[in-house]
Amino acid sequence: MNLTRRVLLSAPAALLLPTPTRADQQRLAAALQEFTGGAALREGRVRIEISPLVENGNAVPISVSVEAPMTAADHVRRIGVFNERNPQPNVITAQFSPRSGRAYVATHIRLATSQALVAVAEMSDGSFWSQRVEVVVTLAACIEG
């Protein structure tokens, strides 16, 4: 009896949460692996700014910034943004240099459905940092018709 009630109450919440398949997760992991070249990926330093609840997946503003002094000795080389459930895992890969001043990039992206986004930064010392966010999309982008 108690179990049924719990299941019923949790059903609407489960509908909103993204439910990635195993294939999606593997594809995302493969894309991250390609970006890092197999190096260890640590959480932190990267900040993704995106609305957690997106009404229109056709153009979603997103910005990624990384805490880094951006000097010749310590700067961000690349920032990659990846998604879990669009037809392709890559979103954008940006190249930086000490002349960038700040490790910051902003753009507008398409989201096919509610899913996770991962931003990865490659530092000049060869370390990789990342952040992952979950985004709920109410109107999907017409990526697959």
Binding site: N83, A106, T107, A141
Partner: protein, 106 residues
């Protein structure tokens, strides 16, 4: 020629970090979308963006079909000296466009 909206400061203090915003008119057709006849439309996207400051590349980005139509990119750079800042977009079907703005650094 596609329409371009660029936001580049015309003057800046030497050594300051300036923000540049660039937007170009483009469909960014994903290559996954069927048209009214049910035929999947061929991919037509801008796949690369480069910003050169006085001839030197200061920012570049590889774009994918997950970038929204009329791709918008904002980034920063350090105002080093007066000179031209050029923006190049390259895409499918031989798409290539370059725009240039001038910055005066004091």
């Amino acid at each position: 020629m596609a329409r371009v909206l660029l936001r580049v400061p015309t003057t800046a203090e030497k050594g300051s970090v300036i923000e540049i915003r660039a937007l170009i008119q483009h469909v960014m057709e994903t290559g996954y979308r069927p048209n009214a006849q049910g035929v999947v439309q061929a991919r037509d996207i801008i796949w690369h963006f480069t910003c050169r400051y006085d001839g030197e590349v200061v920012f570049s980005a590889a774009l994918s079909p997950a970038i929204a139509a009329n791709p918008f990119i904002a980034f920063t750079t350090i105002a080093t000296e007066s000179g031209p800042i050029s923006f190049t977009w390259e895409g499918d079907n031989g798409f290539a466009q370059t725009e240039t703005r001038h910055i005066t650094v004091t």
